[in-house]
Symmetry: C2
Subunit: 311 residues, 2 copies
C-alpha cells in the first residue's frame, strides 16, 4: 500500500529552471519569483547557482538575489556550487546551505564541470572544511546521472554506492539522487533508492526527476513507496535539456504537489497560491511554454466542460 | 515491491484518439494506422466507435475500417458501441468484441449518450442478449467517470460498486475503470482498483487513464501495484478533452510501453516499431501535436547531447 507520511517539496526552479534559459531574468524578478514560491508554502528553495558568470551568465547577480530573499522566514534557501570558489562566494552572500554536484558518470562530470569525479570529490572535501569557519553551514550533495548518463547511458549501482560512501565519510548527510536527463524508470528508482537507504541509514536521500520521457511522477511515486520524503521539482516544469527539442524539463512542482495533495500526503503547499507563482513565471517569461500539465489543464473544479466525451 | 507480471496494453487511439478530431481521417489511413499498431506487437486494439455518424462523423466509415483489418491474426479487435443499434451494426461488420460505455455519473451519462445510467443498463442487457445469436461475441464495459466527473466532480465508491455488480450480474466479465477527464490520483486508483478486485474476483478489471494533469503514468503504476494487468492507452497521446486547451489527452501508448518495458515488465510491444506507428500518425495528421513525451524526446540511446547540464 502507498504510505501516508508527509513529504518535503524542494523547489529548484530558480536554479535548475533558469540555468538553461537564454533570456536573462532581472534580479528583482528572480527575487519576486522566489518570494512567490515561498508564499505558496514551499519550505526549501534552491535559489540559484554560484558559477562562473562566463559559464552561466544568468547567475551573474546571485549575491544580489540572495540579499533580496535572506529575510524569508521558515524557508531553507540553498544554492548550487560547482567548486570551492563558488562555495566561498555563496557563503559571502550570506547563504549557509550549499549543494555541491558530482556526476556518477565520469564523462558527464568532465563535460559538466571540467573535473574528473575524483577531482570533484577533492573539491567537495575543501568545501566541507569551510564548515568550521561558518556557523550553520551545511553541505549537501546532488549526485547527477544516478539513473543514466547521456554519454555512457547505463550507470552501475556499485559506482553510485561508492560515491555515496565517500561523500558520507566526508560528513555529507543529505544526498539527492538525480535523474539528470530523464532515463529513470520506477523499478530502477525503487531498487536504487531502497539499496541506498538500506546501506546508508544515516544519510537522508532525496530524488530529482526530469519528465523528459513522461515518467517523472511515476518515478516520484516509486521513490515515495520506498521511503524517500524529499522531492526536487521545478515551477512550470522549467529546466531540462535544451538539446532534446520539445522535451519536458524537470518534474513540474505544480504537478508533483497536485499529486501528493490529491493523495492526502501533506506537502504544506497551497496549490492555488502555487499556481499564482506559475502565473507570475508566465508573466516574466511570456515566450516560454510551461510544461506543467496542471498549469495547462487547470484544477479539476476549474474545468468548464460542456461537450461530448466518450469514456 | 513493484510486481513483475506481464501486462496487456490496450490501444484505444483509433477510437478515443480519433473521435475528438475535427479532421476526417480517410478509411485507408485508419486501416493503415491499425495495421501499424498491430505490427508493433499490440494485441488488443479498439478500432473505432459504432455511433450515429451525425454525432461523430469521424466514424461514418466504421464498417469499411473493420473489413480492412479483420484479417489481422492474433489481434483482438474491439469497437465501442453506445447503444443496441451500434452493437447490431458492429456485429454486422464482422467484429465480435464490443465495448459498451456507461458513466457512473448521471450527469455525464446524460450528456454523453443522452440516456440515464439506468437506461444505459437496459441497453446493455439487450446487447448481451445478442450473444446467443453471434458465436464468439463478447461484451465488455467501459465505466466512465469512475475517478471523477467534470460536472459532479466527486464520484462515490458505492456508485462504482453498484454498476460493477449490476454489469457482473448480467454476465460482463471485463470492466475498464475510466478516468474520463484526468481527475484520478494514485491513492484513489489503489483504493478503487483494490476494492473492485477484492469484491468481484470473477471480473477482470482494466484501467483507462488520461494524462490531463500529468498523473497518467503514476496512476498506471499504482493500478499495476494492486494487480491490474490491462491498460488502455492511445498512440501519440491522442484524445482527451477538447475543452481543456493545451491539456494532454489519453496516456500515450509510447510512454506507457516505454515505462513497462524499461521496468522489465513484458508488454510484447517493440518500442521501435511502435514509434514507427507514431511517425505514421504524425504523417497523416501533420497539424496535430502528439503529446507523447517519448515521441518528443526520443529513446535514451537516441539523445545526442553535447552541452552543459548541471544535475
Amino acid at each position: 500500500m502507498i504510505p501516508e507520511d508527509a513529504v518535503q517539496i524542494v523547489e529548484v526552479g530558480p536554479r535548475d529552471g533558469l540555468q538553461n534559459l537564454r533570456e536573462y531574468v532581472e534580479t528583482e524578478k528572480k527575487i519576486s519569483l522566489i518570494r512567490c514560491l515561498a508564499e505558496s508554502g514551499l519550505r526549501e528553495i534552491e535559489s540559484g547557482s554560484f558559477v562562473n558568470p562566463r559559464a552561466i551568465p544568468q547567475f551573474r547577480d546571485m549575491s544580489d538575489v540572495i540579499k533580496g530573499v535572506l529575510d524569508l522566514e521558515g524557508v531553507k534557501l540553498t544554492a548550487l556550487v560547482p567548486n570551492l570558489k563558488g562555495a566561498q562566494n555563496a557563503l559571502e552572500s550570506g547563504i549557509r546551505s550549499l549543494i555541491f554536484v558530482i556526476s556518477v558518470s565520469r564523462s558527464h562530470n568532465l563535460n559538466n564541470v571540467r573535473l574528473t569525479p575524483e577531482e570533484s570529490l577533492e573539491e567537495l572535501k575543501k568545501i566541507i572544511e569551510l564548515e568550521s569557519a561558518y556557523a550553520g553551514m551545511e553541505t549537501q550533495l546532488d549526485l547527477a546521472t544516478t539513473f543514466g548518463c547521456p554519454f555512457e547511458i547505463k550507470v552501475k549501482e556499485e559506482d553510485i554506492l561508492r560515491f555515496v560512501e565517500r561523500a558520507g565519510a566526508m560528513g555529507i548527510r543529505k544526498i539527492t539522487l538525480c535523474d539528470t536527463v530523464g532515463f529513470a524508470n520506477p523499478r530502477q528508482v525503487e531498487q536504487i533508492t531502497h539499496t541506498c537507504m538500506e546501506t546508508f541509514p544515516r544519510i537522508t536521500f532525496g530524488v530529482h526527476f526530469h519528465n523528459t520521457r513522461g515518467l517523472g511522477l511515476a518515478n516520484a511515486l516509486a521513490a515515495y513507496g520506498t521511503g524517500v520524503r524529499f522531492f526536487d521539482s521545478s515551477i512550470g516544469g522549467l529546466g531540462g535539456c535544451p538539446f532534446a527539442p520539445g522535451a519536458s524539463g524537470n518534474v513540474a512542482t505544480e504537478d508533483l504537489v497536485f499529486m501528493f495533495n490529491e493523495m492526502g500526503v501533506h506537502t504544506g503547499v497551497d496549490i492555488h497560491r502555487l499556481l499564482k507563482a506559475s502565473q507570475y513565471l508566465k508573466e516574466i517569461l511570456p515566450n516560454l511554454t510551461l510544461t506543467s500539465a496542471l498549469f495547462k489543464a487547470g484544477l479539476p473544479g476549474q474545468v468548464g466542460l460542456t461537450g461530448k466525451i466518450l469514456a
